[in-house]
Symmetry: C2
Subunit: 246 residues, 2 copies
């Protein structure tokens, strides 16, 4: 089976995600969107607002995957250090970007809001980066090589992703077919392993559910080939039928 | 200021977390619990069900932090490979553990359920590990050195964590004081940066809120020293009062 595989990683940045103060909502959103687009999210990391940690994680991820998406740390306050950390990771300079300065300056002028030094921080963009449009609150994200730097506020993260998505190379979409099994994993585990071995070009996942009293399982068959996914799913159905009647 | 700092990382394991099929609920739970206990969660990684990825992440995290907590991949099916990956990371052998076999065997016998080969997979424990009690569904987690391996099902993850927590060394708790600012980050950014510089033994975070129309900010002052946290918070209140009256 020949198919294009395009991989991605996410780096969520912010002390508040690690202290429990803020529950991340961007990881699951990105995971859904990339899966639909045919891009495989392979790894996620969450780090705090410390430059060395951001640089280390970013350099590891951008070397390993086709795309990296970051969230958080591009606002106007002293703890927003993502842009500087990205510049450090790429070893490029960073300064107030004329394009971003104009966007922000025009916006604040039109709203009669002072363009403070803090707000000018949001125009700090690493040298060589393209801006990512922010239709919600103007302050742009940016793309440098394969790294897309976006806001942490979910509505802005999502809006930025909308404009980024059409620019990405996408791979063959992975088809996922699922079936609910009334049997717990311990019952279906062995026969499901046999089915997995017999259908090597599919990935069969088994997800336990526990309602506080009884266990059941959702079985998901993934493949880039519809026929192979369906054939493996048929085998799963046959196995479940046999268990029900056995 | 002298204080004990105890650090931790989490490794969440499972293809379903990266495909968007399952929304992780364990990261935020662990973050909350560790913060309350005085342990600093410094990094989180999510990887799929691939041994090399689990081994790489685990070896990076266990070398760097005092504790590592993993979730997921210890069930009875072929895609549950966490125990084997942990054994590979530590370069120790893995086999059916007599203690775990007895726990599971007794439990299934008492419930008149067949102790299948698949269920015996859940007794595979790396050599030298201690078992972690599972009051929900018996199949144990385990601890090897500073790595705690736990289930992905949230109710079981939480129950295992309950029994692990009293065994951990904890550090000085970080106090967090917060105040809601009616001003957006762009307005308070510069004076807040000045306050941060004047109070170096606190960490002042600023968290934007956007209700679709207007921006406000929550400001959080963190410190291991209550007096220093309060003094910094007083300075934030004074700054906000000045902006309101100015």
């Amino acid at each position: 089976m020949t198919s294009d595989i395009v991989t991605a990683a996410m780096l969520a940045i912010g002390d508040e995600l690690l202290s429990g103060r803020t529950k991340d909502r961007n990881i699951a959103y990105l995971a859904d969107l990339l899966t639909v687009a045919g891009i495989e999210l392979k790894e996620v990391r969450i780090v705090g607002d410390e430059q060395a940690d951001i640089v280390d994680a970013l350099n590891a991820l951008r070397a390993r995957y086709d795309y990296v998406f970051t969230s958080g740390g591009i606002g106007p306050t002293h703890d927003d250090i993502t842009a500087d950390a990205v510049a450090a990771a790429f070893e490029v300079s960073i300064d107030h970007d004329p394009r971003a300065m104009k966007l922000l300056s025009d916006n604040y002028a039109s709203r009669d809001i002072e363009f403070t030094e803090a707000r000018k921080r949001m125009a700090r963009i690493p040298d060589g980066a393209d801006l990512i449009d922010n239709p919600v609150s103007v302050a742009p994200g940016f793309r440098l090589d394969n790294v897309h730097v976006m806001a942490g506020v979910p509505s802005i993260f999502q809006a930025m992703l909308d404009s980024v998505l059409p620019t990405l190379r996408t791979g063959t979409k992975i088809l996922a077919l699922s079936v609910d099994s009334p049997f717990p994993e311990g019952t279906i585990g062995a026969p499901l392993g046999v089915i997995q071995k017999a259908h090597p070009e599919t990935a069969i996942g088994s997800y336990p559910r526990f309602d506080g009293k009884t266990y059941s399982t959702q079985i998901v068959v993934r493949s880039k080939d519809q026929h192979k996914a369906q054939t493996a799913l048929d085998a799963v159905h046959a196995m479940l039928d046999e268990l029900s009647n056995g």
